[in-house]
Structures are given as C-alpha cells and as structure tokens.
C-alpha cells in the first residue's frame, strides 16, 4: 500500500514538474509538499457532544457572517432561487452560512455496548482542495498553511465550490457580496460560507476557537506529518480507525474513531448541510493525469509536421524530376 501511494505521488510530482519545466516556473517556488500544511487531529472517542466548539465558532466568527440586503434583487431566469439563512441564524444541526461547525451523532454498538458517538463536522481543508482549484474567479483561496477559505469580497455565489466538494461543505447566502454590484439579476447569487479554520486567529498565533473551547481536548493542531503520525499512534493504541488522511487525495482534518467509518456513515444523518463519512477518491487526480497528454502533444504535433513536410517535399521533388524528364 505505501509503495502504491508513493508511486502515485511520484508520478503526479513528475507530471507537475514536467509541466512546470515546460512553462519555465521554478519548481522550488511551488513548495509541492503537503507535509508542511497544518492539520488537525480529532479524537472523536473523547467528544461528549457538548457543543462548546459550535458556540465558540459562532461567537468568534460572528463578524464574518453576512448581513444581506433585502429585498433581494429579482433574479432571471426563474431557476435561480435565492437562499436565505439570515432569519435562521440559530440553526445548529447542520452547516449553514451562519453555522460552520455542527455535531453529528451516531448510535452504534461498540463491543456489544450501545453508544452514541458525536462527531464535530466542518470543512476538511483538503490538501488539494477542488473548491479552491476549480473556482472560476479565484475567489476561493488556499493559504500556504493548507487553510482553504472563500473570500467574501470576491465570491459571486455560483456555488460551484459546493458542487465540486465531495462533502458539499460551502453554504450560500443570497443578497450579499460582489454580484450585487455587477449584474445581480443575471449572474451570481450571493456568497458561499464555510469554516476558514480561524485563519485570522492562526495568523495571530492563536488557536482556532473550536479547539480552544473544547473541554475534552478532542482536537489537536500541528504540522500535517506530525498529526498523521499521532493519528496512527492513537489508532493503534485504541484499535481505532482513521478518516481524512487519504480521502479526496488527503485532507488536513484527521478523525480517529473507535468505530469503523463505514459503520458511522450508516448511522449518521446525511443530506443537505450534513456531510457523509464515505470513502472519497481524489477529485483532482483524473484531470491531473490527463496532463501527460498535454506534455506529449507538442512532440506528436511536431513529428506529424515533419512527416507531412518530407512526404510532400519528396512528392514535389518527384514531380520536378518528372517535368525535367
């Protein structure tokens, strides 16, 4: 298994390096090392579901929540529907633009004993986040430390990030943001919101609010390679299971659970704003593998041109010889 992964990442790295070399970007400037990103470890065996983290999140991030202008501009065509959470700011049993973290619960049997497992859920902060990479405007951003965040001043609310996210994390609020200043009737529909892992607190050297507020010390934060090591040690010690290390090609949110995640996934309520716990393959991988074709294309094109050129020049020459005869 590990051989497999390293071979795959080697291949990926190779293709990226080829592409980078072809365009003259120094590869060193790219720092293609996800171990340098900062990750969190969530020991969900410790979580008591008290919700202190959820409260802390909304308190600390209240200033980032939208204050939409009403009435919303009428949108055309009718298919574009407004999404309004501004009157339901207290909803805390799912993700909303005003609730970036919620507690999911699962009634399961562990060693013959009935138990309720509680799981804090929010953005996974993928190491290669499709929400960021596939945003057509550059409104979603990934920071060097692995945090992905959506810039509320640039987002147009098209919700592509939500659709390409394997967990459909980002949530929309209509009536706010840049689209109001462009063509509110015809393009855009608000701003997408999600956990930004308290990027501003981290920049100040503070802990994310949810980590700081937890009475059970469920979460830990640190360099990804160290967090992965700790997660494996913890899983070994507790006979636990890991989620988030390889999901979607790797995330910066590593859960360790006493119950297998496929069992948890069946026991939790999933749906709108309530993400699953399924295995997820790397969303960006297939397209990135196609880059090999782009690297070969110029060689094939030039070879074909040379082939055609010599075929025709030979014909030309033959023609000339005929005339000369």
């Amino acid at each position: 298994m590990p051989g497999n992964i390293s071979r795959r990442s080697f291949l990926k790295g190779g293709i990226a390096a080829c592409a980078a070399a072809a365009s003259g970007i120094p590869v060193s400037a790219s720092g293609a090392d996800k171990d340098k990103q900062i990750a969190t470890l969530l020991d969900i065996g410790k979580c008591i579901g008290c919700g202190a983290c959820v409260e802390a999140c909304s308190m600390v991030n209240a200033a980032k929540y939208p204050e939409p202008k009403k009435p919303f501009p009428k949108m055309y065509p009718d298919r574009a529907k407004p999404e309004d959470w501004s009157g339901k700011r207290d909803v805390n049993d799912r993700l909303t633009p005003y609730n970036w973290l919620f507690i999911q619960s699962a009634d399961v049997t562990v060693n013959g004993e009935e138990k309720t497992i509680t799981i804090p859920r929010r953005c996974m902060h993928c190491t290669n986040p499709p929400c960021v990479k596939l945003c057509p405007w550059g409104s979603a951003k990934q920071l060097e430390n692995g945090i992905s965040r959506i810039d509320p001043d640039l987002c147009l609310g098209g919700a592509k990030c939500k659709e390409v996210c394997p967990w459909e994390i980002p949530q929309r609020q209509t009536g706010t943001g840049l689209y109001l200043d462009i063509l509110p009737a015809f393009a855009g529909n608000g701003v997408m919101y999600k956990c930004d892992r308290c990027y501003n607190r981290i920049a100040e050297g503070k802990l994310p609010a949810c980590i700081e507020a937890c009475p059970e010390k469920v979460q830990e934060i640190g360099p990804r390679d160290e967090i992965i090591k700790k997660a494996h040690a913890l899983a070994k010690e507790t006979n636990g299971y890991i989620y988030g290390e390889n999901e979607n090609g790797g995330t910066n949110t590593i859960y360790v659970s006493p119950v297998p995640f496929d069992v948890l996934n069946k026991a939790i309520e999933t749906g709108k704003g309530k993400p699953h716990l399924k295995a997820v393959s790397d969303s960006m991988e297939k397209a990135n593998n196609l880059v090999a074709a782009m690297a070969i294309a110029p060689i094939a094109g030039i070879a074909a041109a040379i082939g055609t050129f010599y075929k025709y020049s030979r014909k030309d020459n033959e023609g000339k010889t005929d005339e000369e005869k």
């Binding site: 990226a16 592409a19 365009s23 720092g31 293609a32 996800k34 090609g249 960006m284």
Partner: protein, 148 residues
C-alpha cells in the same frame, strides 16, 4: 492538401469543444437552461467539462505545434502569416500560456499568489473572448491565416 483539410476540421471541432467546456467552468449553463438541451447535459457537470477541457487543450497544443512546425519548415516556400494570422497566433499563444499555468496550479502543493490566480482566470477568459470574436470576424470576411 487533404490532410490539411482534416487538420482544419479537427481544429474547428476542438475549438468548439474547448470553448464550450471552458464556458462550463463557470456555473452558467444550468442557470440558463443550456444544459437542458438534449446532448448538452454534460455542460453542467463540472468534472466532465474539466476533463473535456484538458483533452481539448492537449489537442490544441498538438495542432498548434503541428501548424507552427509546418509553418517554419515551409518558410522556404514563402508562406507568410497574414495580420489576422499573427493576431490569432498571439491570442492562442496567450491562451496556452495562461492555461498551462492554471493546469500547474491544479496540482497538489502548487499554491500561487491569489492575485496571480485572479489574473490568470480573468486573462484566460478575456483572451478567449478576443480569440472567438477575431475568429468569427475572419470566418465571416474570409480572412486567411497565411498568404503565399
């Protein structure tokens, strides 16, 4: 000559699909019911348009290299680019350059500055608009790429 006709049709087809799939990177085809037209449903599926765009990009790079190499090799035969030929070549070169950078950005660990990403996204879009309008103009007024 026949071979060049085939390359030309391949080029046209690729331009159509790369433009459609490129437009599909923006969430507009579903909103405007275009993805409801039978056969165009794929335009609303972001991963599908992403793959189609990459495959067409490989084709465009191949065809451009073919044409550029052919042009250089036959330079002796006094085949010259016209003004509109130069303009279209420059626009395609710009599209390929910004496109390659965006492709690199999509690999894990390639974290470009936000301003660079916004610049790449917007210039790629502006270049393709200019290219499509120029191509339409050239098509309507029968402007050729080269003149001998």
């Amino acid at each position: 000559m026949k071979r060049n006709k085939n390359v030309y049709y391949l080029y046209l087809l690729t331009i159509i699909f790369i433009s459609l799939s490129g437009g599909g990177q923006m969430p507009i085809f579903k909103r405007y019911y275009i993805a409801d037209i039978p056969g165009l449903g794929w335009l609303a599926r972001f991963y599908i348009t992403h793959y189609v765009h990459y495959i067409c990009a490989a084709l465009i790079i191949g065809i451009t290299s073919y044409a550029a190499a052919g042009y250089l090799l036959s330079a002796k035969n006094k085949l010259n680019l016209t003004v509109s030929g130069y303009l279209r070549s420059a626009l395609i070169a710009g599209l390929i350059a910004t496109g390659i950078l965006l492709v690199i950005r999509n690999f894990e660990g390639y974290i470009f500055s936000h301003n660079l990403i916004i610049f790449l996204d917007l210039s790629h879009l502006a270049l393709v608009m200019l290219f499509l309008f120029t191509s339409l103009y050239c098509f309507l007024f029968k402007k050729k790429w080269t003149a001998s």
